[in-house]
Symmetry: C2
Subunit: 403 residues, 2 copies
């Protein structure tokens, strides 16, 4: 059985994701699609709109065969570390291909770029460092280094090109026997905030249209499959809310104003004395958005700040960034086909397959996941919160039987 890996967040799952999934199957002819998915917090430093379980349900409904978790330690990170963790896991679970959506849409230039940069690594690294010193953000610095090296490649100011580039780079650097593939994204920019197409919209615009409540569920109907609507409705009626940064602002303020400076300095992404700016701004701010607008600079981009805030909220320490590679494959869900696949490859997996987290009692990476769960569920009133925490620890992987 041939398996293809995809790297997803599904926040929430929409028609663009479905297109990517179907194209992936078609293009690779794989017998099994394995998604490695961020958990409760996402790459750009945000809480996921609904829990990992609800998003796993969407993925399985859409026809993903296996969903595994990208641990927090790799998920809430720059594209490079995010991709590195994801590629390691997809290799560990024996994917022979990885297929990503990109603005560019052709795989050759991604490979060319990675190889060209490998040859000129020193030059490239120096150029990035200099650009960052000049005050540019990381994506800007990449693009600047790019121009200077005059490599005719992909446009690295596009977010999905950056991610794609990072997957290919990780595959090459880790020397994984994984064939990278890409599918052109259609119709919608990653960050687009409003609807511009009749059936394809960005996850950002879908969340924005929902604006945190079930009342607006019908407005997203053209852009998401019915099972997404269903999963969102189920979640919101069980837990009374979607998750968004504003709901966590109160906790973040508490955290920032009660932490010792020496503690703040140990938090990942809190660097260069930014904690002083954060503390000063948050005491005055009434909302998360007000707060970030007050702190944002050319150098401290929105995403970088959001990530720092997520790490503050989950108490994610710098030292955890020393962990180089995932230590387990956590299964969140599968269908019958996925189960068949796992049965076949089980004995050849290069990392332990985890179906119940009691197996991870002493795992450092999972310890961070527990903190993330505690933070993610902290906005629920009791007894929902206790229920949500138990869900993390007691839920067996979801299993979709074909009807």
């Amino acid at each position: 059985m041939k398996a293809v890996g995809i790297v997803v967040e599904y926040n929430p799952f929409h028609n663009g994701h479905l297109y990517h999934l179907e194209q992936t199957k078609q293009k690779t002819g794989a017998d099994c699609v394995i998604a490695v998915m961020s958990g409760n917090f996402l790459q750009r430093g945000e809480p996921a709109i609904v829990s990992k379980w609800a998003r796993t349900a969407m993925a399985l409904s859409a026809g993903v065969d296996i969903v595994i978790e990208l641990p927090y330690v790799f998920a809430v990170q720059s594209a490079e570390r995010f991709a590195s963790g994801a590629v390691t896991l997809l290799d560990a679970i024996k994917c022979s291909e990885l297929c990503f959506g990109s603005e560019h849409g052709e795989i050759a230039p991604f490979l060319q770029t990675v190889y060209a940069l490998q040859k000129r690594k020193n030059e490239y690294d120096t150029s990035i460092r200099q650009a960052i010193k000049k005050g540019l953000s990381y994506p800007q610095a990449l693009s600047e280094a790019w121009k200077q090296l005059r490599i005719d490649g992909i446009d690295l100011t596009k977010p999905n090109n950056i991610l794609g580039f990072s997957y290919v780079k990780a595959i090459v650097e880790q020397q994984r026997a994984i064939v990278p593939q890409t599918i052109p994204r259609i119709a919608s920019g990653y960050h687009e905030e409003s609807f511009t197409h009749s059936s394809i919209a960005s996850a950002t615009s879908v969340r924005k249209a929902l604006s945190g409540s079930l009342e607006k569920l019908e407005t997203i109907a053209p852009y998401v499959p019915s099972y997404t609507k269903e999963a969102l409705a189920n979640y919101c009626s069980t837990y009374g809310t979607f998750h968004e940064w504003e709901r966590y602002f109160s906790l973040l303020k508490y955290r920032l104003l009660t932490a010792e400076r020496s503690e703040l300095e140990q938090i990942a992404s809190i660097e260069e004395g930014i904690e002083y700016r954060l503390i000063e701004a948050i005491a005055e701010a009434n909302t998360f958005s007000e707060f970030l607008h007050a702190v944002k600079t050319k150098r401290y981009t929105w995403t970088r700040l959001q990530r720092a805030c997520t790490h503050l909220l989950t108490n994610f320490l710098k030292q955890a960034n020393g962990i180089e590679t995932p230590t387990y494959i956590r299964l969140l869900g599968m269908n019958e086909n996925g189960k068949r696949y796992l049965k076949k490859v089980k004995k050849t997996l290069s990392l332990p397959l985890v179906t119940t987290v009691s197996q991870l009692r002493d795992d450092y990476i999972y310890a961070q996941e527990k903190k993330a769960v505690a933070a993610y569920t902290a906005i629920f009133p009791e007894p929902l919160r206790t229920k949500a925490i138990k869900e993390e620890y007691a839920t067996p992987p979801l299993y979709w039987r074909t009807c």
Copy 2:
């Protein structure tokens, strides 16, 4: 002008406090009554029902001339440290007497006890240590040591006797020129939870009768002066709530489940591995009361656990317990008479008198106060929370003019 000091929490101010205040004036013939009062968190490890400002207003209405703050670093502590901080401050502000309410009601036995114990200090300390080793709580250990030494003294199982004993001990140990006095408490036990007298009730029973809302305000009318009712009503209509542990349970759970073990070990009162019990119990508990009942043992008394929880909430570190003595006198409020007194003694004060906290920018003790304020106000929705934080930093001392 002769000043007498009293040590108070006024949580909230009731007729028993008024009795103590009037008896104090009568007994000592002092020209000025100075109250040193806990701030937003109290000796037994609880949030005060209303802020320090609202409670200062009650004190001034009742006829206290000057209110100064007992810093968190000394307030949320065992009787011994609580008393030591309070006595230092009352001495610094030139009180020549200290008058406390006690179950015993006569001052001589307190002095005899303190002197007797000074003489037999080693024996006494050993006895306490052994009792604690046997698993007794601190108050139980005191009382046990007591029995063993066969000193015919006061009953140290009574909470106000313990406090009084601690004041006298602090005066003697610090060699302060302060005359201790005591007034017998009337009619109500410290912890009593229901009303047993027609006009005197414990603060505990008053809070219980209010049960966190303004609706029950009339039920406490017989037991509190009208200005207490007014101050409570004002506070609750401004901030929408009274403060009680249950309102902080969600934050406490967040805090306990996201902190690293190494961080928990640094929190004051977290000792002997109790953090493991706390983490395990809180994940399952839906309320603060459920939580404490699950953790409570003979050794870990309710008060001791509450104090540990308060320190967790405010991130109060063990190292801060190394601070031996207050570094400033923070004025919370005064009346015309108090102002006159301060003018007279101003130049002889042994600690700086602080009327605006910007003077305390680099003070370690005040840094902890700020964390306590951040935690205390964390239950408010915005923009009330920002307002409440500003109130701490921008409120000048209350000033009561005689009409």
